[in-house]
């Protein structure tokens, strides 16, 4: 993939706060036109990376290129083409939603003031806030503020949208609307970079994803590529945990450690390099006198992949 086809490209991007490295040496490649999911648990460095992409923070080392130009040097050329929601919405509580958008739009010296009113109304319409446009922001609910933040990112046509946790605080209805919005924006050719700690969200709307863990980038690619890395696995329901584990290990499979437990009633094992036939596995278990009460073959899921990449504490199911 050449640089011209990348909306975002980082090389060795690192951010150090004192001795603590928030972002360590990451190489992101976000293709133009993709819906790119940026996954990782809270505190894994997603927002810090986004700040560097938007020129709000300068990297300690490494380089970030957005829409082909180096940040934060090219802020004034790049940022008008980028809409963003960073770490939740921020608005003046005593101004109405529409006034807030007008104020932020007037801060953009490249945005035309003649069309401001129409563009603000249009952006509010797209996030379903038209009815509340005249209300003061302090009277907004968390979800409404979130929608207003997205509306701000949509004030002018953008080539790239960077949305940091866009569905935070939204009800299921709102979440669905945001998904539809992202799809429609993507269908018009915009690149969308969505960060989230929710796997389900990414899986539903993204074409590509990257996974952050403790400041490092641990995987990236298309969703299919990410899925392929995972191997199928078997789940054996049996009271003879130790015995079954031994048999499966002999077949070259990796028994997941959580399963080796007295109280457990099943064993999960991941296929090795040369996957055995399921029939052969069952036969081997029976031969070893394992009381097989249930047997299932599971294909790899992204969830497993991310759990294995990011370890404990990854909130996969909300």
């Amino acid at each position: 993939m050449t640089a011209a086809e990348l909306a975002i490209e980082t090389r060795g991007l690192t951010k150090q706060f004192g001795t603590y490295a928030a972002v360590k040496d990451i190489d992101l490649s976000v293709p133009k036109g993709s819906v790119f999911g940026f996954l990782g648990p809270n505190g894994s460095g997603k927002t810090t990376t986004i700040r560097m992409l938007l020129g709000l923070a300068s990297p300690t080392s490494g380089e970030a290129r957005v829409l082909g130009e180096s940040m934060p040097g090219a802020n004034s050329r790049v940022l008008p083409r980028v809409g963003a929601l960073v770490e939740g919405p921020g608005f003046y509580p005593y101004l109405s939603g529409a006034d807030n958008l007008r104020r932020l739009d007037s801060a953009d010296r490249y945005a035309s003031s003649g069309t401001r009113r129409a563009r603000v109304a249009d952006a509010l319409e797209r996030v379903g806030l038209s009815a509340a446009a005249g209300k003061k922001v302090k009277a907004y609910s968390l979800g409404m503020k979130q929608r207003l933040g997205i509306a701000n990112a949509l004030l002018t046509p953008r080539e790239l949208l960077i949305l940091d946790e866009p569905t935070n605080g939204l009800d299921p209805q709102g979440t669905r609307e945001v998904r539809n919005l992202v799809r429609s924006l993507a269908s018009h050719g915009a690149t969308i970079f969505v960060s989230s700690h929710l796997l389900a969200e990414i899986e539903q709307i993204c074409t590509h994803a990257a996974v952050m863990s403790a400041g490092s980038l641990v995987a990236q690619g298309t969703l299919d590529e990410l899925r392929k890395v995972g191997r199928p696995r078997v789940r054996v329901e049996t009271p003879d945990i130790q015995l079954a584990s031994g048999v499966l290990a002999k077949l070259g499979m990796t028994v997941q450690p959580a399963a080796v437990d007295d109280s457990a009633t099943d064993v999960v094992a991941v296929f090795g390099e040369k996957p055995a036939e399921p029939d052969a596995i069952v036969a081997a278990l029976v031969r070893a006198k394992v009381r097989v009460r249930g047997f299932a073959l599971e294909s790899p899921s992204l969830e497993d992949r991310f759990v294995s990449l990011t370890g404990e504490g990854f909130n996969v199911d909300h």
Binding site: R51, L54, L56, N75, E87, L104, D105, A107
Partner: protein, 249 residues
Amino acid sequence: MLAALAAVPILIAIAVRVTRAGDGGGGPAFLDRIENNGLFVVFVALTVCVPLFLPLTVGVVAGDTIAGEASNGTLRYLLIAPAGRIRLLVVKYIGAAAFCLAATLVVCIAGALIGFALFPSGSVTILSGDTVSLANALGRSLLVALYVTVSLLGLSAIGLFVSTLTDVPVGAMAATIILSVASEVLGQLPQLDWLHPWLFSNYWLGFGDFLRDPISWSNFGTNAALQAGYLIVFGALAYGRFAAKDILS
């Protein structure tokens, strides 16, 4: 805040009207003149406001410029709009300077209105003992307002710089106000004579020069140069701090 400033001349005028305390000396300069001419409410109010209330409100406004946006979460959105960092600093400083002018004018206009409502108007005796027409005196009052506004520009620049140091607006406001008080206290210490011409508050009460005949412009020039010096130094410091600051709020 502007309403609070407007209350100062109104309270002064009412107090003088009610107590008729014209004699006995003491109190701020010009207090005993109010009964003769309501315009002096303006000058008494400025004498009271310049060392205390105006720096206080200017400290609040200037300290809030950047830190206030940061604590609101709006700073990052202004910067990615993109507002441009230098442009944002300039616009914020112009806003603070406009507040200085508005605050001073509010005190003057409220003072003139309440003064003329409660006390006689007409020709005005200025500091030199000469008598000038009311129109002339009103013109001089505008010059006084301009002088006071210029006097506050240095403090505004300091506030802008302090505001780039923190994300806590209250801290920036307090620091700016403390600096203005410190400058005034240092200005009171005769042991520090050599330092006085360099203090941004040194010429704050120099607006009396517009009530002399002929008008003395030397303080105005020196004051303007001093304030410009503070503006340049603290503007550049604010740039140095803010141009590459990591916005983490």
